[in-house]
Amino acid sequence: MITIPKRVYTEMIAHAKKGYPNETCGILAGPPPKADGSAGALVAEKPNVADVFYPMTNTDNASISYFMDPKEQLQVFKDMRQKVLEMRGIFHSHVASEATPSQKDVRLAFYPEVSYLIVSLTNLEKPVLRSFHIKEEKVTEEEIKIV
């Protein structure tokens, strides 16, 4: 399960609508797990919370695909490090299809430890957001909790 504050959800949907009819993309980040002090074990105080959204540029500038700007990616990764955040999710929009990973999404999923969030804007008034883990081309849906 991934937990997203309502504020972040609103930012994601606003970014997707702003870029419509092109696909849009972004990166979600959250706090790292915290040590509970017992035998050095790590326990997530807030498991898989994504409370920061980085809107990214779709360099494909297209309605059927997205590609993040590597320069922006590097900047975001450095910013996350500076703020002691970890990447929690990779977000993009589908403008004319369901919020499920396409073959291309699956093929280009290189971060198995994070969530892949897709919002469908087939109905602009009712965006549908879903989240998946993609590992070795195996797709597993996870619950999204908006808080």
């Binding site: 695909s65 997205y66 993040m68 320069k71 990764f77 993009h92 396409s102 291309k104 280009l108 290189f110």
Partner: protein
């Protein structure tokens, strides 16, 4: 006679690491089992062209960053 390789210190994605001296970017990616066509590599704030991966040697104190491509879409 075998050559003894020195170790150098680099900062990889924000973490200090020791690697053998004389390695190229291609050597490092191979060592980490990363396909070069899937990543962007930056050294000391400069993004490298893929054509330069073979010829760029990692130096002591280099700050190396790499990120996997993030892309996809409906089709």
């Amino acid at each position: 006679m075998s050559e003894t390789k020195q170790l150098i210190k680099i900062v990889l994605n924000g973490k200090e690491q020791e690697v053998q001296s004389g390695l190229s970017v291609s050597d490092l990616l191979l060592k980490w089992k990363i396909r070069p066509e899937l990543v962007t590599v930056e050294i000391n704030e400069t993004i490298l062209q893929k054509l330069d991966y073979d010829g760029t040697k990692i130096q002591d104190g280099d700050h190396v960053e790499f990120v996997f491509y993030m892309g996809g879409g409906d089709q």
